[in-house]
C-alpha cells in the first residue's frame, strides 16, 4: 500500500510477545492514521471502565501516510490511550524525528498492551524487535536515558521515545518525551507508559517510504512549501514563528487582554515584555531547530550557563508559548531564565508544562487564600517566586509532600482540599486549559467545554482567525465574526474541529494547516495525500468526513467512559468577569454556554445531552460504536 508501511507493531508487555498486524487499505482510507487510527483501536480494544493505569489500557503510537516524506510539517505523530487525567479519550501530539524513523523501520504505528513485570524498553531496528531490561534506567532523565540507550543500540541515529520520573511515578500530567526536547504533552500519556513499566522505545529504521506518484507528490510539496514560506507568521521574517518562536506574540496577547495571568484573574500583564519571544531573543536564545520536514523551525534553543537559574542546556530546547505563559504570566513570574529552567526540568522529568504551570498557579492562589498553608507546602508559595516554583515542580515529579496532591491535577487536588478550592481549579474533565483566554475568544470556550480530551486549545479555532471575512471558504467559513460573541460560532467550531481532526489524523503539524494558522494549502495537502496513497479521487469533503469520523469516535469514547454523561462545562473562573486589559469585563454566563451547547449538539447531530446519535454514527459508518453507546442513554 503506497504511502503506508501497511503494518502495525503489536507489543504485549505482560507476555513479552511482539507481532506484526497488517493495516489494510480500506481501514487506512477511513481512519488515515494519527487520531483516527488511534481512536479506532482504543474503541475496539479498551474495555469499558478499565483502569487507565492498568494493563488493559492500550498505548497507541500512530503515524500516517505522510510520515517519512518531505511533506511540510509531517514530522508528527499521535499518542492515544485512555487518559489517567480525564478518564476519557487521551491523546497527545509531538514532533521531532520519531514519526519518520518508525516509517523507515517499516511500521505505521505501535500498539502496546499489558504491563511488563519489570522496567523494560522496546528496541526496534527494522524487523528486529526486542524487549530489553531497563531497571538501570529507572528514574533517569530524558537525555541520560537517550544517551544510555543509544550506546546500547550502538547507533547514534537511533530515535528514542521515553518517560522520565514523572511518568514512572504516575503523575497524571506526565508526558512522553522524544528527541530530548519534544513532548507529547497532554492528558497524561507518560503516566500510561510508566504504568506499563515501559521506560522507552528505541527506533532505528533504514528502509524506505514509497509513494504512488512521487513526481506529483514533489510538485504539491513544493507548492505547499512556497505558500508556507510566504505566510506572514510561518515564513522566515521578523516576528514570525521561526524568528521569535511561538512566544513571539506574548505582548500582543497581553494588549488584547487574553494572556492568562495570575491563575486566570486577568488577561493583561504589565511584565509581558519580560517573558516574550523578543525578550528571549535578546537574552538567552542561541538559535533554533526544526522537527523533521519542517520549514518553520519554531523550536527555541537557549542557554543559561550559571547564576541562580543556570544549567540550562541547548539539548533540551527552550520554552515555547504555552510554557512561557504557564510558568510566566499565569504564576506572575517575570524571570525568563527561571522559565527556561522550569521548562528544562519538565523535559527532564517528562511533565506537561501546561498542566504543571497550572498546578503551581492553582497552589499559589490556594496559598494566598489560606487554603494551603506554609506548613502544608513546606515553604512560602508567593506569586511570582521562581525559586518556590522550582521546589514545587521537583515535589510534583517526585510525588513528595504537597507534590503528591498536585500530581493528580488541579481538579482532583481541589476536591481534596475542599473549602471552595474547586473554584480556583481551571480545568475541564480533568484537563487544565491551554494558555488561551476563552473570555476574550468565545468560540474557543465551546471547544474547551466539549472537546473529547477536556479543555483543549488545539481542537476548535481561535476567534481572531475569523475576524475578517472569507477566512476559510474551503470549508465554508466566510462570515467575519466578533471575538466576544458566541453567536453563530457553534457551526464554525464544528467545521474547524472536523478539518483539524483530519489534520490530526494525517497527522501533520497543525501550524501548517488552514484552521490553525490560516495557510491556504488544502489543495496541496489533498494533492500530497492522493499522490502518496494513489487515492486520486480524494476530495476535501471526504477529508472533512474522515475528520468528523475521528472526532465522533473520540467523543464517543469519552462519553462511553463517563457513563453517558458528557460533562460539558467550563471552569467557574470563566463565568467571572475578566479583570483589566482590552477584554475587561468579559464573561461567559451559564445561560450563554447552555444555549451555545444546544446549538452545537444540533449542528453535530448529537442528542440533547451531547451523545453522538445512532443516525450520525451510522452516517459515518460507525454502527458498532452506536451499539456500544446504545446502553448509555444516548439520544436516538
Amino acid at each position: 500500500m503506497d504511502g503506508y508501511a501497511g503494518r502495525l507493531l503489536r507489543v504485549d508487555l505482560s507476555s513479552g510477545k511482539t507481532w506484526v498486524e497488517s493495516l489494510d487499505e480500506a481501514r487506512a482510507r477511513r481512519y488515515l492514521g494519527g487520531r483516527g487510527l488511534g481512536a479506532r483501536i482504543l474503541m475496539d480494544e479498551v474495555p469499558e471502565g478499565c483502569d487507565p493505569l492498568g494493563p488493559e489500557n492500550r498505548l497507541v503510537f500512530a503515524m500516517g501516510p505522510l510520515a517519512g516524506t518531505f511533506a511540510p510539517g509531517s514530522g508528527r505523530y499521535t499518542i492515544v490511550a485512555k487518559s489517567p487525567a480525564t478518564g476519557g479519550f487521551g491523546e497527545a501530539y509531538t514532533g521531532g524525528f520519531v514519526a519518520h524513523e518508525l516509517k523507515y523501520a517499516g511500521y505505521d504505528g505501535i500498539v502496546v498492551q499489558g504491563k511488563a513485570p519489570e522496567k523494560v524498553y522496546l528496541a526496534v531496528t527494522n524487523d528486529r524487535v526486542e524487549i530489553r531490561p531497563a531497571s538501570h534506567l529507572a528514574g533517569r532523565g530524558t537525555l541520560e536515558t537517550e544517551e544510555k540507550i543509544k550506546e546500547e543500540m550502538g547507533d547514534l541515529e537511533t530515535r528514542i521515545v521515553s518517560v522520565g520520573l514523572a511518568g514512572e511515578n504516575a503523575v497524571r500530567f506526565a508526558c512522553v518525551m522524544n528527541d530530548t526536547d519534544r513532548a507529547a504533552g497532554r492528558t497524561g500519556m507518560g503516566a500510561v507508559m510508566g504504568a506499563k513499566n515501559l521506560k522507552a522505545i528505541a527506533i532505528r529504521g533504514t528502509g524506505r517510504v514509497a509513494l504512488a506518484d512521487p513526481k506529483a507528490f514533489r510538485e504539491h510539496a513544493l507548492a505547499d512549501l512556497a505558500k508556507i514560506r510566504k505566510h506572514p507568521w510561518l515564513g522566515d521574517r521578523p516576528g514570525s514563528a521561526g524568528n521569535l518562536g511561538t512566544a513571539g506574540g506574548v505582548e500582543d496577547l497581553s494588549s488584547l487582554g487574553i494572556l492568562p495571568t495570575r491563575n486566570w484573574e486577568t488577561g493583561a500583564w504589565e511584565y509581558a515584555d519580560r517573558i516574550s519571544g523578543t525578550a528571549m531573543k535578546n537574552t538567552i536564545l542561541i538559535g533554533r531547530r526544526a522537527c523533521q520536514a519542517c520549514p518553520v523551525g519554531c523550536t527555541r534553543v537557549v542557554r543559561v550557563a550559571d547564576g541562580p537559574f543556570g544549567g540550562v542546556r541547548p539539548e533540551y530546547g527552550g520554552p515555547e508559548y504555552e510554557t512561557v505563559a504557564a510558568f510566566g504570566s499565569l504564576c506572575q513570574n517575570r524571570n525568563l531564565q527561571a522559565i527556561a529552567l522550569l521548562n528544562q526540568k519538565c523535559n527532564v522529568y517528562g511533565l506537561d508544562t501546561i498542566s504543571a504551570g497550572s498546578a503551581i498557579a492553582f497552589a499559589m492562589e490556594c496559598f494566598e487564600k489560606g487554603l494551603l498553608t506554609e506548613k502544608e507546602i513546606g515553604f512560602r508559595l508567593d506569586w511570582g517566586d521562581p525559586a518556590a516554583m522550582l521546589r514545587l515542580l521537583d515535589l510534583i515529579a517526585r510525588r513528595e509532600g504537597i507534590g503528591d496532591l498536585l500530581a493528580d491535577g488541579t481538579g482532583r487536588a481541589a476536591a481534596k482540599i475542599g473549602r471552595g478550592a474547586s473554584e480556583l481549579a481551571v480545568e475541564v474533565k480533568g484537563l487544565e486549559l491551554g494558555m488561551h483566554e476563552a473570555r476574550g475568544k468565545k468560540g474557543l470556550a465551546l471547544s474547551y467545554a466539549t472537546a473529547p480530551r477536556g479543555a483543549d486549545h488545539m481542537e476548535g479555532f481561535h476567534d481572531p482567525m475569523i475576524a475578517a471575512p472569507n477566512a476559510w471558504p474551503e470549508i465554508g467559513v466566510v462570515q467575519a465574526m466578533d471575538r466576544f460573541t458566541l453567536e453563530g460560532k457553534p457551526r464554525v467550531v464544528r467545521l474547524a474541529e472536523d478539518y483539524t481532526s483530519f489534520i490530526n489524523s494525517l497527522p501533520i503539524c497543525s501550524f501548517m494547516s488552514l484552521t490553525v494558522a490560516g495557510v491556504r494549502n488544502t489543495e496541496e495537502l489533498s494533492g500530497m495525500l492522493a499522490a502518496a496513497t494513489g487515492w486520486r479521487d480524494i476530495t476535501i469533503e471526504e477529508e472533512m468526513a474522515i475528520g468528523e469520523r475521528a472526532y465522533n469516535l473520540a467523543r464517543a469514547f469519552t462519553v462511553r467512559e463517563s457513563g453517558g454523561k458528557a460533562d460539558d462545562r467550563l471552569p467557574v473562573k470563566l463565568s467571572r468577569s475578566l479583570r483589566g486589559g482590552a477584554s475587561k469585563g468579559q464573561v461567559i454566563t451559564d445561560a450563554d454556554l447552555q444555549a451555545a451547547l444546544q446549538e452545537y449538539y444540533r449542528v453535530r447531530g448529537w442528542s440533547e445531552n451531547g451523545t453522538p446519535t445512532e443516525a450520525k454514527l451510522r452516517e459515518l459508518g460507525l454502527e458498532d460504536v452506536a451499539q456500544q453507546l446504545a446502553t448509555k442513554g444516548g439520544g436516538r
Binding site: Y104, V209, R218, I286, R289, A290, R313, E315
Partner: protein
C-alpha cells in the same frame, strides 16, 4: 564558471529536508540512509553540519578507483555507474565519508549535484544550502560577518 553546493551550518536547523529530497531524487523513494547529503548533529554544542561530496580538485577517490568509474569532470567528480566494479576503494580513500554503497546494485553512490540542479538546495527552506558559482562561494559568509561588524560599529 562552475557551481558548487555550499553549506552554512549556522543556518541549518536539522530539518533533514535535504536528505529526503536527495533520496527521492536519486532512488525514487524516501530513504535518508541512502541520501548523498547527510546532516550530522552535535546537540551538546548545538551544531548541525550538512556534509556532501566536496567535488575535490585533486580527488583521492579518482586516484584510487581502479575501474575508471570516478573521473574529474567540469567542476565536479563524475561517477560512471556502469564502470563501477563495487570494490569500495573510493570509500576508503575519501577523507570525508561522503561516498556510500548501494547494497542491492553493489555500486557506490555519491553526489552529482543532480546534473547541476540539486534537489537538496531546492528543498532547503533556511538558506543553509546554496548552489553558487565557485568563485563566489564564500561571499555570503563574508557578508554575514561584515554585517555583524557593521552592527557592532554603528554604536
Amino acid at each position: 564558471m562552475s557551481r558548487m553546493i555550499v553549506a552554512d551550518m549556522t543556518k541549518c536547523t536539522n530539518c533533514r529536508m535535504c536528505e529526503m529530497a536527495c533520496s527521492l531524487a536519486t532512488t525514487g523513494a524516501f530513504a535518508p540512509t541512502r541520501s548523498r547529503i547527510r546532516v550530522h548533529v552535535f546537540a551538546e554544542h548545538f551544531k548541525h553540519v550538512p556534509v556532501t561530496c566536496f567535488q575535490c580538485a585533486d580527488a583521492p577517490c579518482v586516484k584510487v578507483c581502479p575501474a575508471g568509474a570516478l573521473l574529474q569532470g567540469e567542476g565536479l567528480v563524475r561517477f560512471v555507474k556502469e564502470a563501477c566494479i563495487g570494490c569500495r576503494m573510493c570509500m576508503l580513500a575519501c577523507p570525508f565519508g561522503v561516498i556510500s554503497f548501494e547494497s542491492e546494485a553493489r555500486v557506490i553512490a555519491k553526489c552529482d549535484t543532480c546534473s547541476g540542479d540539486p534537489e537538496c538546495v531546492r528543498f532547503c527552506a533556511y538558506g543553509a544550502l546554496e548552489f553558487r558559482e565557485s568563485e563566489l562561494a564564500a561571499a555570503p559568509k563574508g557578508r554575514d560577518f561584515a554585517r555583524r561588524v557593521a552592527e557592532a560599529a554603528k554604536g
